[in-house]
Every structure is written in structure tokens, then in C-alpha cells.
């Protein structure tokens, strides 16, 4: 029989001390992470099983009733549909655009111009979302918005960006892609620059075109970074809230149709209607959705990377 600590016994004392030091250094962060992240998440799950009105103590155990009621809640269904459309569109568009921009800036444009363009594309990431959304609300304005004026040059009739149910969702997607693409681009640029040029040079010698080099060398080697960008963008997209809240918040002026998304719906249930148990169940659903999607992405993309 092999003693469970046999392997450990073989570890030199100096290595042991280094490991212990590493864990000791990590301990405060782990405690903080557990207190701020793990405990509230677990608490949200516990509260989802109760009828909890936030101000008063949770009194009635509901079991899975909150989860069952949510499945037939039309607001939740609408929110789920809108959020999924938003997340898919935002992720696909922002990642594709980021890849194009990254390839352009990492491989084509160099020097100060490249740095300036990187800064320009990254700038939206640095600006707080609320003022940015207020600015975009003016851009989307039906009568005097810049976007409709621009489209008008090409003979496109004015688009009711903020009042039409479909176009309101499109407007949120446009705004969000604009905000996200710079972040994705920077990460992808770093990834591309980490790929040794020697592979492309070798392929070039073998007669591979620039597109063939990008398709068969750059993209496969960039897959782990692309996966990270897709996962991060998907998670951020499913948590969309500020844009829809601000775009529909002006009740005294320009019209703003509310695009109901999951976080807005749970926010409304929890903090407006004081159904915090119900909202917690919604949060758990959101968690599960993101978790499942992330696992699928991992399996799919890691599989293709292995190939």
C-alpha cells in the first residue's frame, strides 16, 4: 500500500517552504474572494428558495417554486430572448471586428500611427458607460440624431432607433459592440504579437498567401486567446444592464423603449417589487446559463484547437 503522503515526503523542504509561503500570501485574497464572491453567490441560491421581501426577514420556504414560476413569467421569457439575441450578436460582431482590427494593427500598421489607432479604438473602453449611453441616445435620436443624418446621405429613410422594439435592441447592440471591440482588440493584438514571426515567414517561403498564413497559422495559434475573448464577451453580454436602463430612462423627453434583459428584470423584481427571493432565482438561472454556455464554448473551441 502506498502512503498518501509518500509523494509529499519526496518534496524537498525548501520547496515546501516556498509552497507554504505562496499559500500564505494567497490566503488574504482567498478569504476576501470567499467573503465577497462565494458567500453572496451561495446566499443568493439559498434566498432563491424563499419568499424574501428584502426589507423583512425571509419567512416562507418556497422550495423550487420561484424557479417554476419564472419559467412561465412572460417578462423573464422576453428578457431571456432579448439577452440571448444581444449576447450572440454582440459577441460575434465585437470579436470578428476585433480580429480584423487586431490583424490590421499587429501586422500591417506599425509605429506611431499604429499606437495612435490602438489608442483610438481602445478609447471607448476607458469612458464610463452612463455618459457614453447618454451621448449615444442623442446619436440615435430619430429627428436630429447624427446616425439618421448620416444614413440619409445614402438615401436611407430615418430609422426609429429608440422607439421601434426591434431597432431598440439593434441600437443597444451597436452601442455595446462599439464599447467592447477595443477591449477585445487589445487582447488579440497581444496574442498575435506573441506568435513568432518565423512561422509566417516559413509559410511565405512556401508560397502561402497572406490570407492563407492568417487562416492556417495565425488563427489556430490565436485560438486560446480568442477563446478567452469570446468567454469574457459572452459573460459581459449576458450581464448587460446599464445601456438598456439609461437608454429608456428619459421620461421627459426623447422616447426610449425599454429593452428588457435578464439583469434589468431581476433588478426590477428585487429592488422595485421587493421580490428578492424571486430575483435570486433569476440570478441563479443567469448563472447557470452563463456557466453552460462557457462550458460549451470551452469544449467546442478547445476541441478545434486540439485538432
Amino acid at each position: 500500500m502506498i502512503h498518501p503522503l509518500a509523494a509529499v515526503r519526496g518534496v524537498p523542504r525548501r520547496t515546501w517552504l516556498r509552497w507554504r509561503f505562496a499559500y500564505l500570501v494567497l490566503l488574504p485574497t482567498l478569504i476576501l474572494f470567499t467573503y465577497l464572491r462565494v458567500v453572496p453567490t451561495a446566499w443568493a441560491f439559498v434566498m432563491s428558495l424563499f419568499d424574501w421581501g428584502i426589507v423583512k426577514p425571509a419567512e416562507k420556504f418556497e422550495g423550487l417554486n420561484n424557479y417554476i414560476k419564472l419559467l412561465s413569467d412572460k417578462n423573464f421569457q422576453t428578457a431571456f430572448t432579448n439577452t440571448t439575441i444581444f449576447a450572440v450578436a454582440t459577441t460575434v460582431l465585437s470579436v470578428l471586428l476585433a480580429i480584423v482590427l487586431a490583424a490590421f494593427l499587429a501586422r500591417v500598421v506599425r509605429g506611431r500611427t499604429g499606437g495612435l489607432l490602438e489608442l483610438l479604438y481602445f478609447a471607448p473602453v476607458l469612458v464610463p458607460l452612463v455618459p457614453v449611453t447618454l451621448g449615444w441616445r442623442e446619436i440615435f435620436n430619430y429627428n436630429h440624431g447624427v446616425l439618421n443624418a448620416f444614413l440619409g446621405i445614402f438615401g436611407v429613410t430615418r430609422v426609429p432607433w429608440l422607439s421601434d422594439p426591434t431597432m431598440a435592441l439593434v441600437a443597444v447592440i451597436i452601442l455595446s459592440v462599439w464599447k467592447q471591440v477595443g477591449y477585445n482588440m487589445i487582447i488579440l493584438i497581444v496574442g498575435m504579437r506573441a506568435i513568432p514571426r518565423v512561422y509566417e515567414e516559413a509559410a511565405s517561403v512556401d508560397g502561402a498567401s497572406a490570407w492563407q498564413q492568417f487562416r492556417h497559422i495565425t488563427m489556430p495559434l490565436l485560438a486560446p486567446v480568442t477563446l478567452f475573448v469570446i468567454v469574457i464577451t459572452t459573460i459581459a453580454s449576458y450581464n448587460v444592464f446599464t445601456q438598456v436602463y439609461v437608454l429608456a430612462s428619459d421620461v421627459q423627453g426623447a422616447p426610449g423603449r425599454l429593452v428588457r434583459v435578464i439583469v434589468y428584470d431581476l433588478f426590477e423584481n428585487g429592488f422595485r417589487f421587493f421580490n428578492m427571493g424571486y430575483a435570486s432565482a433569476e440570478a441563479v438561472y443567469l448563472f447557470l446559463i452563463i456557466l453552460v454556455l462557457t462550458l460549451i464554448q470551452f469544449r467546442f473551441l478547445r476541441g478545434s484547437t486540439a485538432e
Binding site: 423583512k56 468567454v231 449576458y238 430612462s249 425599454l258 440570478a283 448563472f287 456557466l291
Partner: protein, 458 residues
């Protein structure tokens, strides 16, 4: 495996985003009197309630346009209480409510909280707010000091918890120049007048695009405002959103899906189909101030906003009361049970009840002061735009918010449905059966919410 664990942690982090029947007739509006000056017992100021040590009173409210009122009142209060300083915090109403939701239970709220009794009822239930001191209660309950509806709106569990400070009544704003141009000689005297005038007032350009709406209806936006506007118009038809059945039972049933509600919704979609109003044009106060609409309904604060942002409009518009009735909401001043310097806070609240402070509130913010025993003769001479809010027709009916916690949920969900319904105007105009089915479906949801809260009386 290690990466999957990392992603689980990331996903775990992402999951953390947890994140008003008073149908009593009354000619004068709450806060309105053109009679004798203020009389009746005044609330007595507790001697030296603020002591002599430095004291800071934090005043929290949900209407940033009233900040200046509290700040000025604070300066006036300091003349007799030099050791007291003030901070005023306000944000948009919904943000303020959310802040209260966490600040009151965690005992970190300001010493003076300004919000409705209806909203704060759940906090009263948890013992988080003090009762109104007896002297203020006596002053508020004195006959004629406040409209009966104000008292009713402020009563919870047969007691008064906050001191009424201002009210939110509705007026019809109409552009008198547009009325003259359209050949309309009288102000709107009925809902039918409003709709008929709207059709004459709408202006379209050569391409048929609406450039000035005849009536800026409330068609979109988040929260319950859309349903509130529908409710105010429904009152003009003698009905309400939910009615206590039988009266005094504490049990309620949806009423908006009756023939009057259906006719009102029909009016909305007809106006939209005729292109008298549209979602593709600025709306509400902003539209009125920029002359993109000729009439709309709103509270009195718009008068002050017009004076500031569209001074050229002053003298070219007028207000008139809704013909039949209105919603009455009263904002009151409360003191948290665990507040520091409670006596001083109540003393400041007594001060805010004085006629000078009450009138200053309206002059500075545009909101209507809550007392009705204040002489308004000179005020109306100086501020004629307030006539629509301070002169109400005979038998004017005021509806207060049903005193049930789930009413906001009912109103907000109805608002969501109304926005969807208005957007579908092309399919609903001239389709009474479809409209009836639609409203019946919404009413079922309303009644289900009432049932879930044990308040259904159908």
C-alpha cells in the same frame, strides 16, 4: 480542468448581479386655498431640540429639483440653530428608493427622509421609521390644515408617520398660440375636447411626417409612468386602475379593463394611427418646451422648468385642471427610528411646515406645497400658470395610491403592456374585440398579483 475551474469562478462572479380610494369630492386642491391666511394650531417647536453641539442633518429625497428648497430652508433654520449644518442628498426617484432599501435596514440613511407613506410602509412594518410626534400629528389633523385625501394618503395602520410636505397633482398644459392658430377658442373641458383639439393641432410637413404632435401622450419609458398617465385619463371617464371591492375591505380588483378602459385604449391607438402623436418625436415636457407638441399632462414642476429652459414660452401657454379628477400623491418627511439627532430632525420638519417655507417650496421647485390653509390669492396673481393645479372644478375627485405594497408592481407591469399595445396601434385601431381581449389578459395578471398578496376582492 484547471481552465474549467477558472471559468466556473468567473461565471460565479458574474452571477452576483443581484442584484395608491379617495373619491371624496372637494373643490380646492390639496395645498390650495384662496381663503384666509394660515390658521389653526401650529406645531410647537421643542426648546433647543438641536442643543448647542455641532449637528449635521442629512436630508434625503428623490427629486433633485427640490434640493435648493431644502438648502435654503437649512440656511433659514440655521439663523435660530447656528450649530446645525445640512447636507442634501437626492437622486432620481427610483435610484433613491433603491438606496433607501439598503440604507434604512442598515441604519445608514439620512436623518430626514422625504418619500410617500405608501412606499415606506414596508419599512414602517419593520420598525425602521419613527411615528410623527404628537404636536405635529395634532397640527396635521387639524380640520382644514390639509385636504382629507392628503391625510388618507399619509395614514398607515391608523396612524401618521410622516409630515406632508408637497403633493404631485396633474395639470393639462396647452400652448395658447397653437390653440389660437387652430381656431380653438376654449381650453379643453373634457377628455373628448383634448382628443378633438389634438387632431386640429397636429402639424405635418410636406412628406406627411409629424413635426408637432397634437397631444403628447405618454407612450414609452421605463417604470410605471406610462400606466400612471393612462390612469389619470381613465379617471376622467370615472374609473380607476384597481378598485377596492367592497370599499373599506382591503380587497381590490382590476377595473381598467371595463368599457371605459377599452374606450380609452381605443382613443390612444386611434390617435397614433391618425398620426396625431408618434413615438418618433420628442415627448412630454421637452416636446412642449421645444414646441414639438401643443398639449400634454404633467405635474406643476414643468412650470419652473419652462421658466428656466424655455422662457420665450412664458405667457404663451396656460394650464387647466383635468375635468373630473386626478391622482394625489403626497411626499412626506420622515425620521428613521435609529437616526442620530432625532429631536433636531423633527424640529427641522416642524420648520418646513411653516407657511413661508411651504410657499417657498412651490416658488423654487414648482411642486405644490401640501398645506391647504395658506392664502393663495397673491400667489396666483404672481404665478397664473399654477391655476390648473390650484383651481379645481366642483366635485373634483382625488384618488390616492392604493395602500398595498404590490401596487407598484401592478402599475409597472401594466405600463410594460401598454407600451407594447401602443406600439401595435396599427393592428389594434378599430378592433374593439382585440382591445377587450388584450385588456382582459392584462387584468388577469393584475388580479393574479392581488391574489398572490391576498388582496384580491373579485
Amino acid at each position: 480542468m484547471h481552465q474549467v475551474k477558472s471559468i466556473k469562478l468567473l461565471a460565479t462572479g458574474a452571477s452576483l448581479l443581484l442584484a395608491l380610494s379617495a373619491c371624496q369630492p372637494g373643490t380646492p386642491s390639496p395645498g390650495a386655498s384662496s381663503g384666509p391666511p394660515a390658521s389653526g394650531p401650529a406645531a410647537t417647536t421643542t426648546a433647543n431640540a438641536c442643543g448647542t453641539d455641532p449637528v449635521t442633518l442629512n436630508v434625503w429625497g428623490g427629486y433633485p429639483e427640490i434640493d435648493a428648497v431644502y438648502k435654503q430652508a437649512g440656511e433659514d433654520f440655521k439663523k435660530t440653530h447656528p450649530n446645525v449644518s445640512f447636507t442634501v442628498f437626492s437622486t432620481d426617484l427610483r435610484g433613491f428608493e433603491q438606496k433607501l432599501t439598503t440604507a434604512l435596514p442598515s441604519k445608514t440613511a439620512g436623518e430626514v427622509i422625504v418619500r410617500t407613506t405608501n412606499f415606506l410602509a414596508r419599512f414602517i412594518d419593520q420598525g425602521l421609521l419613527d411615528k410623527l410626534p404628537d404636536d405635529i400629528k395634532t397640527a396635521v389633523n387639524t380640520a382644514g390644515a390639509y385636504a382629507p385625501e392628503v391625510i388618507k394618503d399619509n395614514t398607515y395602520k391608523n396612524d401618521l408617520w410622516g409630515m406632508p410636505i408637497f403633493t404631485g397633482g396633474t395639470g393639462i398644459y396647452y400652448n395658447t398660440d397653437d390653440y389660437a392658430t387652430a381656431g380653438i377658442t376654449n381650453p379643453p373641458a373634457s377628455l373628448e375636447d383634448l382628443a378633438a383639439n389634438a387632431r386640429k393641432l397636429a402639424v405635418k410637413d410636406a412628406s406627411g411626417t409629424l413635426t408637432r404632435s397634437g397631444w403628447s401622450l405618454r407612450l414609452s419609458g421605463q417604470g410605471s409612468g406610462v400606466a400612471e398617465k393612462f390612469w389619470i385619463l381613465l379617471i376622467q371617464k370615472g374609473k380607476t386602475l384597481i378598485r377596492e371591492t367592497p370599499e373599506g375591505s382591503g380587497k381590490w380588483v382590476a377595473e381598467y379593463n371595463g368599457p371605459e378602459g377599452q374606450a380609452l385604449f381605443q382613443m390612444y391607438v386611434d390617435i397614433l394611427k391618425e398620426g396625431v402623436d408618434t413615438e418618433e418625436i420628442d415627448a412630454d415636457a421637452k416636446a412642449f418646451e421645444t414646441k414639438q407638441t401643443s398639449q400634454f399632462l404633467r405635474e406643476s414642476w414643468v412650470i419652473n422648468e419652462i421658466a428656466t429652459t424655455a422662457p420665450d414660452l412664458v405667457g404663451h401657454y396656460a394650464t387647466i385642471s383635468p375635468p373630473v379628477g386626478d391622482i394625489l400623491t403626497t411626499e412626506s418627511m420622515f425620521v428613521p427610528a435609529d437616526a442620530a439627532n432625532k429631536d433636531c430632525a423633527w424640529d427641522f420638519i416642524r420648520f418646513m411646515r411653516e407657511p413661508e417655507q411651504q410657499q417657498n417650496l412651490t416658488k423654487v421647485s414648482g411642486w405644490l406645497f401640501a398645506r391647504q390653509d395658506i392664502d393663495l390669492t397673491q400667489f396666483l396673481v404672481d404665478n397664473p400658470a399654477y391655476e390648473g393645479f390650484l383651481k379645481r372644478p366642483d366635485n373634483f375627485q382625488l384618488y390616492v395610491t392604493p395602500p398595498i405594497a404590490e401596487f407598484d408592481e401592478i402599475e409597472t407591469k401594466l405600463a410594460t403592456h401598454l407600451v407594447e399595445g401602443y406600439a401595435d396601434f396599427a393592428n389594434l385601431a378599430g378592433q374593439p374585440d382585440k382591445i377587450k381581449a388584450l385588456l382582459d389578459g392584462w387584468a388577469t395578471e393584475t388580479n393574479d398579483i392581488l391574489k398572490a398578496n391576498d388582496h384580491f376582492g373579485g
